[in-house]
């Protein structure tokens, strides 16, 4: 008897605005000039934040920092698609996600200066503190989405990770649970092609990361991660589906990390200048600018104004961050449990005595 095909899958890749600024207008009907300006201005703000973070690190005013350059469309396009009530679980390379959600920028600088109060999200911000161990935050979004479903809340939970993170067991177990319990979770992989020095091809033999969703019983979609309109649209669709009870989606944002892995890395050791140059031509702002200019939404004066106001804003956030009072040494102890243990009580006195 001939073997029957019992299962097959195909994976789509979505792009709306290509690298030269050409667009499929039919897919852009839902976007207004206002939307485009919001995309553009948020990218400039995030990029300004990022640029200043790198300078501050060199001056010794921040610790090790992970640049987001090149990945702004993937981060901001996804983050802006969510409602305020949705929960996001970012990693250490998601400054753009925090900024797009309106998270206080001075708090991000505090965090990167080694002050953990920077991750104490103010009321109303459903952003988890950034996860440092790679990929391990994936099941948390599954769990939060599961809780949303059990409580009957019409919300979604989304988690960010990279191509490297997709190799962790947490990816498998988190996505598998999400599929089995059909929870409103959205898995956002920023495939930036490099996990420090290890290329994407060494993470999985699969052709795309998106297609791995098929093995968990739900949809995976690849999107041009440098096209903010496509990223936004694909994310919106996934959110709507999740909130309607349609279960999870894996989104692979196909993008590129233009900077080193972190300020402690030197990417010239493992990748060529020509590769970086190739991707610089495809970075997210360039095509957005070209397209907006065609539509009459962009001018040099407009961009200069946006840049100037982003710089002023970031400067004032840095001043605020650096003027912020030093943390109390008691902070080391007092957030371990809901209340101090007797031993911690004694240790706290000792810390205070030392000053």
């Amino acid at each position: 008897m001939p073997a029957k095909t019992v299962s097959s899958s195909e994976t789509k890749s979505v792009q709306i605005i290509d690298e030269s600024g050409g667009a499929d207008e039919s897919l852009l009907s839902g976007f207004s000039g206002e939307d485009f300006r919001r995309f553009f201005e948020t990218i400039i703000l995030a990029r300004t934040f990022n640029h200043r973070a790198l300078s501050l690190q060199r001056e010794g005013r921040l610790g090790t920092y992970a640049s987001i350059l090149g990945q702004e469309a993937s981060q901001i396009g996804t983050a802006l698609a969510f409602g305020e009530e949705d929960w996001l679980f970012p990693t250490f390379r998601e400054s753009g996600v925090y900024i797009a959600r309106g998270y206080p920028i001075w708090m991000l600088y505090r965090y990167w200066a080694g002050d953990e109060r920077g991750m104490q999200a103010p009321p109303g911000f459903y952003l988890f503190p950034m996860s440092v161990p790679v990929g391990t935050q994936i099941p948390h979004a599954t769990g939060a989405a599961w809780a949303m479903k059990l409580k009957g809340h019409r919300k979604a939970a989304a988690v960010y990770f990279g191509d490297g993170g997709s190799s962790k067991g947490d990816f498998h177990e988190g996505l598998n649970f999400a599929g089995v319990f059909k929870v409103p979770a959205i898995f956002i992989c920023q495939n930036n092609q490099w996990a420090i020095s290890v290329p994407r091809a060494r993470q999985t033999a699969a052709k795309t990361i998106a297609e791995r969703a098929f093995g968990y019983g739900f949809e995976g979609v690849q999107v041009d991660g440098n096209d903010i309109t496509a990223v936004y649209k694909v994310t919106r669709d996934a959110i709507e589906k999740a909130k309607a009870g349609g279960g999870p989606t894996l989104i692979e944002c196909f993008t590129y990390r233009l900077d080193d892995h972190t300020t402690a890395d030197d990417s010239s050791r493992y990748r060529s200048d020509s590769e970086v140059e190739y991707w610089k031509e495809r970075e997210p702002l360039k095509r957005l600018r070209t397209y907006m200019e065609k539509k009459g939404w962009w001018s040099r004066e407009y961009e200069d104004g946006v840049t100037k106001s982003a710089e002023e804003r970031v400067d004032s956030e840095i001043r605020k961050a650096e003027a912020f009072e030093a943390p109390d040494p008691a902070d080391i102890i007092q957030y371990t449990y809901g209340s101090l243990t007797p031993r911690q009580g004694r240790e706290l006195k000792e810390l205070k005595w030392r000053g």
Partner: protein, 320 residues
């Protein structure tokens, strides 16, 4: 008052907590229809339904990792891991996330979850089903570790663990599941975490123990005037109870089935040296397992503290 075994007492605590708080849910492998490999969750699926008692994929990291998200969002997951040795697959989730979410977010997010798991010797299982590696977990700030030694305390301690605002590892001595019965009040009650209990008063030797070995130490104490302390909570443990008792007796023997090096006995001995040095009349003795991998059933009685070893320790401290 009904006489219940450990399985029944834990089952009753789970049912009462689920009755009391709609956010309490039970997740794990085989916890639904099967009622758990030790039948601890028996009847809960029928009583509370499939949205509150959920069989999961065979996936310990997934169970513990998703419990972190469930708890952070506002559920109170009680996750069953079938054997302590299987928690290792989920250690990163427990250590790097559950134990740290409160601190990392400076109180904004918390992780009120319970991981229940059987531990220790006594049921003749395959390898890795008899682990007693509580010290690993006791080293981790942000976690709490609880070990009941009898049905009465199991019920009250589990109720407290479920109501606790932080993640709790709840260790259930598999040898005790059906081997001892005790009177357990039908109504709900709690026993505070972090407090030891005096199992037996005495004046010559302080014996600190927990779980299965507490009973072995008690049997071995025949003929000695031992004050036996049931630690109940291993993290944060009741330092005051230990120190006060050592000050009274001047002698300390710690009895436990885990390996000695880097174990909890070392911590308790060091505490006595720091806080009650001038009261000690004899060296502190740890009666623990040898520095070796726990063997399977044929050799396990040679591995964990034998009654004669415990008695020899009592004799030694009395004759010093």
């Amino acid at each position: 008052m009904a006489r219940l075994n450990l399985v029944q007492a834990i089952n009753q605590a789970l049912a009462q907590e689920m009755e009391r708080d709609r956010d309490v849910i039970v997740i794990g492998e085989d916890v639904g229809k099967d009622g758990g490999v030790f039948r601890v969750t028996q009847g809960l699926l029928d009583r509370f339904g499939p949205d509150r008692v959920m069989d999961t994929p065979l996936s310990e990291l997934g169970i513990i990792g998703s419990a972190v998200g469930l708890a952070a969002y506002g559920m109170k997951p009680v996750a069953e891991i079938q054997f302590m040795g299987f928690t290792y697959a989920g250690l990163e989730q427990l250590f790097s996330h559950a134990a740290r979410i409160r601190s990392r977010s400076r109180n904004r997010y918390t992780c009120p979850m319970v991981v229940r798991t059987p531990y220790g010797i006594g049921i003749k299982p395959p390898e890795l089903h008899s682990e007693s590696t509580e010290a690993l977990f006791c080293h981790m700030p942000g976690l709490k570790v609880v070990v009941p030694s009898d049905p009465y305390s199991a019920k009250g301690l589990l109720a407290s663990a479920i109501r606790d605002p932080d993640p709790v590892l709840f260790l259930e001595a598999s040898r005790l599941y059906r081997s001892i019965k005790a009177e357990v009040p039908e109504e709900e009650y709690t026993i505070p975490l972090g407090k030891a209990s005096v199992y037996q008063e005495g004046s010559d030797i302080t014996v600190v123990s927990w779980g299965t070995m507490l009973h072995r130490a008690a049997e071995a104490s025949e003929g000695f005037d031992c004050e036996i302390i049931d630690l109940r909570t291993l993290r944060p443990y009741d330092e005051e109870a230990v120190v006060n008792s050592v000050k009274k007796t001047g002698r300390l023997v710690i009895v436990y089935e885990a390996t000695r090096i880097g174990g909890l006995g070392a911590e308790i001995a060091a505490l006595a040296a720091e806080e009650a040095f001038e009261y000690l009349k004899a060296p502190v003795i740890r009666i623990a397992a040898p520095d070796a991998v726990i063997p399977m059933a044929r050799l396990e009685d040679h591995y964990v503290p034998a009654p004669w070893r415990i008695r020899a320790a009592f004799e030694k401290v009395m004759q010093y």
